[in-house]
Symmetry: C2
Subunit: 314 residues, 2 copies
């Protein structure tokens, strides 16, 4: 796979593993990096100590580069932003806000910074702030999402910025990867497919829910009050959430309280009733638990075959 992204990140396959809170730990990130992609440790809402521990774990498992996803709305964002510098993490992806505040320090430390963006305006702002590339993420993704879909977002972002663009959202096989390339991306990020990687330590109930999902198994919560839309698998939790969300007397604060602890319940406890199982619309395509390296090889080989096969009869 010949992509400028491979040179930029020193990886074999232009594939990032999405930063998923309570899911993307040092073990999963190391497995993806060992397999030739770029593994990402999610710093989630935790402090620097947790992150440093996961970085050490990843380094004990691989010599290859990996990255850290910094959740900008985390109460620990400041210390986490410093920790990636102290730990000499080569790549940082950011979510949930503008990374402008941290970019100068990260760039000074030689870190490659790839913000996740959900609109043209955020992509342009990220580029202006010094981002090395942007990850244009469509709303078919699992977790916190914007409004635009991958198909609509990626070409519009490509037209608006000069930095490389990665595509995320709705991609779980070589077809999605090849489509992303056609839209102008030079690489992809996958979350849902890596969630069922053998090396992913998420509760087996979570993996089983993704593996059994169909095309219509996801829903979105948090839409009513804006800015906090979240895609998850339909279950008693999501039904309860939506029911409460749309009661007339419900406030934005009530809705914020509803989600507290639900990610941990899903990922760690495997509580299929009360947990929030974040996953993308492409869950219906994900059928098999496999080692991360096998996922990477399979996706990239299929993508390569499609791009080569498309040359027609010459």
């Amino acid at each position: 796979m010949n992509s400028p992204l491979c040179e930029l990140l020193h990886i074999r396959y232009p594939v990032l593993q999405g930063g998923m809170a309570w899911i993307s730990d040092g073990k999963l990130a190391a497995a993806v990096s060992e397999g030739g992609g770029l593994g990402i440790i999610s710093a989630m809402n935790a402090g620097a100590d947790y992150l440093k521990e996961q970085i050490r774990l990843a380094r004990s498992l691989t010599d290859r580069p990996f990255g850290v996803n910094v959740m900008l709305m985390s109460p620990h964002a400041e210390e986490v932003a410093q920790a990636v510098i102290d730990e000499k993490v080569p790549v940082v992806t950011t979510g949930a806000g503008s990374p402008a505040k941290f970019l100068p320090a990260w760039k000074a430390a030689g870190i490659t910074v790839l913000p996740v963006v959900a609109s043209v305006a955020s992509a342009v702002m990220a580029e202006r702030a010094g981002a090395d590339a942007v990850i244009a993420e469509g709303q078919e993704s699992g977790g916190h999402i914007g409004e635009l879909t991958t198909m609509a977002l990626v070409p519009q972002v490509c037209d608006a910025v000069k930095v490389p663009v990665l595509a995320a959202g709705g991609i779980a096989d070589g077809r999605g990867m090849a489509a992303a390339f056609m839209l102008g991306a030079c690489g992809i990020q996958m979350g849902t497919r890596f969630l069922v990687a053998t090396e992913c330590g998420v509760h087996q109930n979570y993996k089983d829910m993704v593996l059994r999902a169909t095309d219509v198994s996801t829903t979105t919560t948090g839409r009513r009050f804006g800015g906090n839309t979240c895609r998850c698998l339909k279950n008693p939790f999501s039904r309860h959430f939506l029911q409460v969300e749309y009661q007339p007397e419900t406030t934005a604060e009530d809705v914020a309280d509803l989600g507290v602890g639900a990610l941990r319940l899903a990922a760690v406890e495997g509580d299929t009733k009360n947990g929030s199982f974040l996953a993308g619309q492409i869950s219906g395509l994900v059928r098999k638990e496999q080692p991360a390296a096998e996922i990477l090889r399979e996706v990239c080989e299929q993508c390569d075959a499609l791009l080569t096969g498309s040359r027609g009869k010459d």
Copy 2:
């Protein structure tokens, strides 16, 4: 463009023009068919007389095949379904429901039937009912939409049916078309891009709104009570609609009443305040009013160049 769809429909480019109520008339359909695609007349909510008039108009402008979009929820669906047989229309696309009821008569009349589907289940039902192909339409489309995005929907539909699959939603240039091919589609349907075709008789204000749109210019109304979600450009009408829709005392009937007449106000009167301007998320990519033939040539040439260029260094 070598696609089984071209053989099936006797067209040069595997591109359908979407059936848009109050917009896709005989003149636009003829222009698209003359340009080498398949033009589609929208039968919308009108009776058979209106449709027959538009078919005659199209036939006066082109000898090439064109199709009719039958809106299955229309009060005139029965007479329209008969009219396409009487008029020997070669291709019918259907929207807003299951076409199973009409399929036997249409197939007996030699009509090629392509239902628009928004989920794997609807695609499978359409195939079982005898559809010749399905149009998998993502929710980035303008007008009435489902939940799945094009990127997530198309490969899942391709895996579930044996008939050819067309992709719709979020496609306005050769990048989107090439991406659709990678996802497994053998053709595309475009609405928004043809809305600004020179031959499209929609009010100039409507075209101008699409031409000035950015990536974040659309919104969705009708989501609260389910089954009637509609994507349109943000304007005073959409803001008023959403405000009323989410008032606690609002009922499903109130919401249904809100939209009455708003499409005509947009398309015919160009009423930028009170009209409902249906358009897709890809509006931000659409920058130029051009003849339909030029749009087709441009999109297909760009697609072809991408598919050929992707072969790498051999």
